[in-house]
């Protein structure tokens, strides 16, 4: 099946283009709503992290998002050329803190790990490659 991919600039206001692509891809491949919602959350977290932390202030760059279906899974690949960052090595969030001390730092990665079936990271030739995989049964 043909992959679908797009590039966005490293700006938060470009992130809705990725939601649009995922929704289109999901409709074409009859991916259940629940799975699409979970991938949307994971992508929102991954892109927000990259845009927030991978670049120096005012540095302009592009982020590639590619969607593929393989063996009953959606594979989401996110590539950026920002500073090396392995989200799998990030410290876990403190989920036991009471309301007053509660922070959401680290929560994005926690969501990605809990919502996706597989999460892999590699740094290849100056590029961060994040690969998310999620099983689904077409509706």
């Amino acid at each position: 099946m043909a992959p679908m991919e797009t590039r966005i600039r490293n700006r938060r206001d470009e992130m809705p283009a990725i939601v649009v692509m995922l929704e289109r891809f999901g409709a074409e491949h009859r991916v259940p709503r629940k799975i699409l919602n979970e991938i949307n959350v994971a992508l929102d977290e991954a892109l927000n992290n990259i845009i927030s932390y991978a670049y120096a202030a005012n540095e302009r760059s592009e982020i590639l998002v590619r969607l593929t279906i393989r063996d009953g899974r959606i594979i989401v690949e996110v590539e950026d050329s920002g500073r090396p960052f392995d989200p799998l090595q990030a410290p876990p969030p403190d989920l036991s803190a009471p309301l007053k001390e509660r922070k959401v730092g680290g929560l994005g990665i926690h969501f990605i790990k809990n919502l996706m079936d597989e999460v892999d990271y590699a740094r290849v030739a100056g590029t961060n490659r994040l690969r998310l995989s999620k099983k689904f049964a077409a509706t």
Binding site: R12, D13, M15, P16, V19, R33, K34, N37, E38, N40, V41, D44, E45, L47, N48, L95, S96, L99, K100, R102, V104, L107, G108, H110, F111, N114, L115
Partner: protein, 111 residues
């Protein structure tokens, strides 16, 4: 994102629609904070039309929750789908909010 607001005597019901993600979390959070700051002490956020909330949205909800506590107001959530509830569970937010299953229960709780 579209946000519907319904004033029912002292209670304000806030009904956001769509997704609370990196881009929509700020306008959503700003509006809720503005309502509390301008005197709303009884608020019900009905999440029945929300597809999902990402961590940016949870940050907005946490800020609103803390502010409501500071002003001794009530902030209640209702209408979440099983899927949305799961996100609250993954983030360990269920104990930090007053969550009601239905709008009617939420209205009663937020008075």
């Amino acid at each position: 994102m579209e946000i519907i607001e319904i004033q029912k005597e002292r209670l304000v019901i806030v009904e956001p629609r769509g997704r609370i993600d990196t881009n929509s979390a700020k306008p959503f959070g700003d509006r809720v904070v503005e309502l509390i700051r301008s005197g709303s002490r009884n608020m019900l956020i009905d999440l029945q039309h929300i597809l999902y909330i990402s961590s940016a949205g949870f940050r907005s909800l946490l800020i609103a929750r803390k502010l409501a506590d500071e002003v001794q107001g009530k902030l209640v959530l209702c209408g979440m789908s099983a899927e949305l509830k799961r996100l609250f569970e993954i983030g360990a937010f269920t104990d930090l909010f007053t969550i009601c299953a239905t709008r009617d229960e939420g209205i009663a709780k937020a008075q």
